[in-house]
């Protein structure tokens, strides 16, 4: 019943493709107008550009210091990801393998924090961050992402570790392997599927995050891509020609990331949320 391609399937396919085209119209508007002169945008935003003008991009590239913003975003996202994978996988494994009241209470504490809205902790966090010297610095921001990312990452690892059979670990322990040896040589490679999911979810969140970098990073040189793009809109409101070019520059890296990994991303999101 499922695999036959009938007339009905064909009709459904047409409907689905039509929907997808409508769904993508906003991107058409942004792309087409980002290469038009300002006057042409005002006349008709839907029209195909008469000539492709890339000077918008060149100017925006300079103004928002795109390479620097990109590097900042890249460093923050990469190091936060590495740290979160390490600390969450280690903690989750040890907690699952050491059943008992303490591990259970700890797990509940981690998980229930997922309901805390960021706004609830942001104000005192700025005070704590100021005291510890974490504000206005990229390493400080990364450490904050460690703290905010732990609950979800640990939750995903925790669910996955439960499905990993314990026998191999036991025999390795018998042979005299230390806890660290068991974890890094045997367990961590087995966690690969969930690690991919954790990295993807954290990457999308950290790369696109706006409020935390806005609060933590004051210097213009430290700005991430969302901050750089938004500062452009604040300063040059209604300068649509350049604003749209800034938007395209801002969203391109993450779209490339997505197109390369889309299979893993979609699979990871599905498995990450069903658990």
């Amino acid at each position: 019943m499922k695999n036959r391609y009938t007339k009905r399937t064909f009709l459904l396919e047409i409907v689905a493709i039509a929907l997808a085209i409508v769904f993508m119209i906003p991107f058409y508007f942004v792309l087409v107008n980002s290469v038009k002169p300002f006057a042409a945008i005002l006349i008709d935003a839907a029209a195909w550009p008469e000539e492709f003008m890339f000077s918008n991009y060149a100017r925006v590239w300079e103004i928002i210091q795109f390479p620097r913003a990109f590097m900042n975003s890249f460093i923050i996202t990469t190091i936060s990801n590495i740290g979160l994978v390490l600390i969450s996988s280690m903690a989750a494994w040890k907690m699952v393998r050491t059943p008992g009241k303490f591990s259970k209470v700890l797990f509940i504490l981690f998980v229930s924090a997922m309901v805390i809205p960021f706004q609830t902790v942001m104000i005192p966090l700025m005070k704590v961050g100021g005291t510890l010297g974490l504000t206005n610095s990229i390493p400080g921001l990364i450490l904050m992402y460690f703290g905010f990312g732990v609950p979800l990452s640990l939750f995903l690892y925790h669910g996955f570790v439960k499905t990993v059979p314990v026998e191999i670990e036991e025999s390795a322990m018998m042979d005299g392997c230390s806890s660290f040896g068991v974890f890094w040589r045997i367990v961590f490679p087995l966690l690969k599927p969930i690690t991919v999911t954790v990295v993807i979810l954290n990457t999308l969140w950290i790369w696109n995050d706006y409020l935390l970098p806005l609060l933590v990073l004051q210097d213009a040189e430290l700005r991430t891509i969302p901050l750089a793009a938004s500062s452009f809109f604040a300063q040059y409101t209604k300068q649509w020609d350049m604003g749209l070019a800034a938007l395209v520059l801002g969203i391109t890296p993450v779209i490339i990331f997505f197109l390369f990994l889309q299979k893993h991303i979609i699979k990871g999101i599905a498995s990450g949320s069903i658990k």
Partner: protein, 313 residues
């Protein structure tokens, strides 16, 4: 009746060393701390300590700068309930928005999932397309749609003469509300679709075929078999959309900035402004604690309701 679930695996140490020795116990605590410690420390310093401090500040009139923190008891909370029209307005907006956004994004997401569950040839490409808005941050999506509403809709209005496109979408209180709902649904429904698709693929087709032979209509199949079988997916999707809609900030900031006349100001924006623009940290944290309670209550109640349905099914 199932016996006990969640007993977890047997502790390896207990099996290997049936007689625990005193010296070994310390070693166990040390390894436990080495593995769990880093995660716990970051979590405590970044989330739990600020949360507890917030609880304290919510009872003070602290302005965020001065070193004198004055205890004012429940004053902030009383003020929020009795004398804060704007917060009340932003709370009403956020709640209304949450209901509209949850219904619309789940209907669309589930619809996409049903459509893509058919054996379409373009299925993988379409899934990618519908998911695409999720990879772009809410802030930039808001700017993109600001352009669509202001310029794009005007051009479409001229071309088609439809009044739908000629309305001042972001300039009017009613349409601005729906504008944000549209953009939110456009972004989130693809995410929901992915979760629903995964659930639909887990449905045993032989069940559906059997029901079909018994003469069940498509509608009966959907409402009596498919939906009850994938209720866990609904629990997750509702939980995710409720909490995302409640916490809306980036998209809201860049799309309408809370306007016109604060009519689309979300609670998250209200708290941000109170603390960082009006410099009323005490009042801001009191609002944020209330906000936490509201989000927690809504999401818990929702999960309890849908979970109960799951058990019956």
């Amino acid at each position: 009746m199932e016996p006990k679930i969640e007993t977890g695996p047997v502790r390896p140490e207990a099996q290997l060393k049936p007689v625990p020795k005193k010296g070994l116990k310390w070693k166990n605590i040390l390894t436990y701390s080495a593995f769990v410690g880093p995660a716990l420390v970051f979590f405590l310093v970044i989330q739990i300590i600020p949360f507890l401090m917030g609880l304290y500040y919510s009872f003070t009139s602290w302005n965020g700068v001065s070193s004198a923190v004055e205890w004012v008891g429940f004053d902030n909370y009383i003020r929020i309930f009795t004398d804060d029209q704007v917060f009340f307005q932003s709370f009403m907006f956020t709640t209304k928005f949450m209901f509209a956004a949850v219904v619309i994004s789940n209907v669309i997401g589930f619809g996409f999932a049903l459509l893509l569950n058919a054996a379409l040839k373009t299925r993988n490409i379409l899934r990618t397309v519908f998911f695409l808005p999720n990879v772009i941050g809410g802030l930039l999506l808001g700017f993109i749609w600001q352009f669509i509403f202001v310029k794009g809709f005007a051009s479409l209005g001229n071309a088609t003469d439809l009044s739908l496109f000629k309305m001042p979408w972001l300039g009017d209180e009613k349409t601005a509300f729906w504008g944000i709902v549209i953009v939110f649904a456009w972004q989130i429904s693809g995410y929901m679709m992915v979760i629903y698709v995964a659930a639909l693929q887990g449905v045993d087709t032989s069940l559906l075929e059997a029901a079909k032979i018994d003469g069940a209509s498509n509608w009966t199949l959907l409402t009596r078999i498919i939906v009850p079988l994938i209720l866990p997916a609904f629990t997750i999707c509702f939980f995710l959309t409720i909490s995302m809609a409640f916490k809306i900030f980036d998209l809201n900031i860049s799309l309408t900035g809370g306007g016109p006349f604060n009519s689309t100001q979300s609670v998250a924006i209200n708290i941000y402004q109170e603390a960082f623009q009006n410099n009323r940290y005490g009042l801001g944290t009191a609002k944020s604690i209330l906000f936490f309670v509201i989000v927690a209550v809504f999401t818990t109640v929702q999960v309890m309701i849908t979970k109960r349905k799951e058990v019956q099914a």
